[in-house]
Symmetry: C2
Subunit: 334 residues, 2 copies
DNA sequence: GTGAAAGCGCTAACAC
DNA sequence: GTGTTAGCGCTTTCAC
C-alpha cells in the first residue's frame, strides 16, 4: 500500500506538503504542487480514509438507517441519500433497523462508532426522548419522515394530512359519494394522519364515512386484500376507496376484481406513496406522490450543513407536500 | 468522546487489557474483565472504528457496489449483503455505480480507500481485464451476477440459460405452440443467455421461433410495452410470450391488454427475476425466481472467507439456479 | 511556501 | 494475566 510518506519521499517534499496538495488548501508553490500531483498519479496513491478520519476526528462518511433496504420506499430513500453523499464526496454507510427498537439503536451506534459526519435516520420505533437525546449528541443527525417539535429543524417530513385531503377531495370532485378506507392496523403517525385528512375533508363536504366503511389491515398487499374482503363481506357499498398506501391499494384492487367488481368502473381506488409498483398494476394506480427521494437528498444536504461547527441553530422545520398523480384507477362520475 | 484510555484509567488497568475484554481474546482475569465491562457500560464507551481500522490495517466494513440502489433488484441484492454484514458484525458501505464504467471504478476506489475487508460488486460495464486485476489486488472481492473464468471462484452467478430453458419448457408443456420473445436491446451476457436458452429449448422440441417474433427494447416496463406493440404491428401471432425480465413482462401485459388481447386467455406471459412487482400486476406474473437476495448473502460470506489470509484458493465457482414461480399469467392449453 | 513534530485511538508484539 | 510500547497513515499547529 502506498502511503503519503511514499509520495513525500519520491517527491522530495514533506508529508505536510503532500497533504496540502491533496486537499487543495494551504500555500503550495505551483511547480511543487504539479510535481506532487504527478507523483500521486504515478504511484497510484489513495489516501487512507481511516487514518484521515482518525486524525481529523471526522470521517468522510454519512450514514443512513432505514428499516429495510429491500423495500421500494426505502430504496428510493437510500438512493436520495446516496446522491447527496456522492455530490459531497462522502461515503455512504448503511444499516437496516429491521423494524425493531433495539436493532435501530444498534444501527445508529454502529454508525456513530465510525464517526459518521452525518446520519439520516428513518426511525419508526424509537421514542421521542431517545431521539431528542441523540440529536443533542450528534450535530449531523436528521430525521426523515418524522416530526418532533423539540428538534423541528432536524426533521424532514411529509404533510400526510394535506396529502390525504387532496386525495379525498379529488374523489369528491370526480363525483364519488360512497367512500371506504383501508388503513394500517397500526394507527400511529402516518396512518392516523392520513385517515384524519380523509375524515375532515369528507366531513367538510358533508359526506358520511360510516365507521363500518373503515377497515384495517397490515400495510402491505395482503393487508389491503384482506381489508377489502372484510369490507365486502360486511356488505359495504362504495364507489371510492382510499388506501393507506400503494401496497394496500394494489391488494385492494386484487380483492375488488376477485369479487367481480371492476376498477375503476365500479370502484375508484387511490393509493399513497407513488411506488414504482403503481405503474405495474392494471389499472395503473392513481396515487399521491411521496417525494421520498428528493426528501432524502434534501435531508442529506441539511445533515451535512448541520454537522459543520458554523451551523446556526434554527427553528425552521422541513415539510414536504404530496402531489396527486392521476392515472387510471379513478373514474370521473360527475 | 470517551476513549480506551479513559476506560483504562478509571478501571485502573492498561489499555491492552481493555482492548482484550472488548474483543474477548487474550487472557483476562474474570474479576478484571467484569469490572472493565461495567466501566465501559457506565462511561458509554464506543470503540473508534477508524482508529482500529488504522491500527489493524483492516476495517470492519464491507462494501457493495450496484448500479442503482433504488431499483428493486439491487435493493434485494443490497439487503442480502446487509444481512451477511450484520451477522458478521460488519458495517455496510454502499456506492452506486450509475451504469457507467468510470463511476463504477470510482465507487470501487472509494471503498478501497476505506480498507473494506470485502467488496461485493455487481459490475456491468467494466471489462474482464480490469476485474481480474482488481480481484488480484483485493482478496475479499466477489462478483455477483457475472462469470469470468479466470476468477471463477470469485463469481456468484445465475444459470440464465437453464432458467430460460425451464421457462420455455413450461410453456411448451402447457400446450403453447406459437412463441414470441421480447428481449433487451443490449444483447450481452444475461439477455443473450436467456434468449439462447429459449432458442435451443424450442429447437429441441421442434418449435419454430421466427426471427420476426423476437423484438428488442430497453429492459424496463416501457421497453416491454413498445416491443409488444412492435410485434403486434408486424402482425405476429403468438400464444406464448417470453420476456427478458419482469419489467418487460409487465410492459408486455399492458400492451397486450391495450390491444384487446387477454392475458393469459389469449397470450401467456412469463417473466424473469421474480421482482415483487410481479404480484402487483393482474394477472399475477408467472416468472423465474432469481434468488438475488440469497446469492448476495452467500457472496458476502464468501467474500469474508476469502478476505482472510488463511483462505485457500479454489477453482470452484458459485452457480445458482432460477426456479419457476407459477402464478396467473400462463394458461394451460394442453 | 515548506517542514518538523505531536498526536488522533487503537492493535499487537513483546516483556514481565 | 497484565502492562509497555511502537507504530498504523494522516492532520494540523507552529516554526522557519
Amino acid at each position: 500500500m502506498v502511503t503519503i510518506n511514499d509520495v513525500a519521499k519520491v517527491a522530495g517534499v514533506s508529508i505536510a506538503t503532500v497533504s496540502r496538495v491533496i486537499h487543495n488548501k494551504g500555500k503550495v508553490g505551483d511547480v511543487c504542487r504539479a510535481r506532487v500531483k504527478k507523483i500521486i498519479e504515478e504511484l497510484g496513491y489513495r489516501p487512507n480514509n481511516n487514518a484521515s478520519a482518525l486524525a481529523s476526528k471526522t470521517s468522510n462518511t454519512i450514514g443512513v438507517v432505514t428499516p429495510s433496504i429491500s423495500m421500494s420506499f426505502f430504496g428510493s430513500l437510500a438512493s436520495g441519500v446516496e446522491k447527496g453523499a456522492r455530490e459531497n464526496n462522502l461515503k455512504l454507510l448503511m444499516a437496516n433497523s429491521l423494524y425493531e427498537t433495539e436493532s435501530e439503536l444498534n444501527a445508529i451506534e454502529s454508525l456513530r462508532a465510525n464517526n459518521c459526519k452525518a446520519i439520516i435516520l428513518h426511525s419508526e420505533y424509537s421514542d421521542e426522548k431517545t431521539l431528542i437525546k441523540l440529536a443533542s449528541e450528534i450535530p449531523g443527525l436528521v430525521l426523515i419522515n418524522r416530526y418532533i417539535p423539540e428538534i423541528a429543524n432536524r426533521c424532514v417530513w411529509l404533510d400526510n394530512i394535506s396529502g390525504s385531503q387532496v386525495a379525498a377531495k379529488y374523489l369528491i370532485d370526480t363525483g364519488h359519494t360512497n367512500f371506504a378506507v383501508v388503513t394500517s392496523i397500526y394507527q400511529n403517525r402516518d396512518p392516523s394522519s392520513r385517515v384524519e385528512g380523509i375524515k375532515n375533508t369528507l366531513a367538510k363536504n358533508h359526506i358520511k364515512l360510516p365507521k363500518i366503511n373503515i377497515e384495517e389491515g397490515s400495510s402491505n398487499i395482503e393487508g389491503g386484500e384482506q381489508a377489502v374482503k372484510a369490507l365486502l363481506a360486511k356488505g359495504c357499498k362504495f364507489d371510492a376507496l382510499l388506501a393507506y398506501n400503494d401496497l394496500m391499494a394494489i391488494g385492494a384492487i386484487h380483492a375488488l376484481f376477485d369479487a367481480g367488481l371492476r376498477v375503476p368502473e365500479d370502484v375508484s381506488v387511490v393509493g399513497f406513496d407513488d411506488l414504482s409498483i403503481g405503474i405495474a398494476c392494471r389499472p395503473r394506480l392513481t396515487t399521491m406522490h411521496y417525494p421520498v427521494n428528493e426528501m432524502a437528498f434534501y435531508a442529506t444536504n441539511l445533515a451535512i450543513k448541520l454537522s459543520k461547527p458554523t451551523a446556526t441553530p434554527s427553528k425552521q422545520t422541513h415539510l414536504f407536500i404530496a402531489e396527486l398523480v392521476k392515472r387510471d384507477s379513478v373514474m370521473d362520475r360527475s
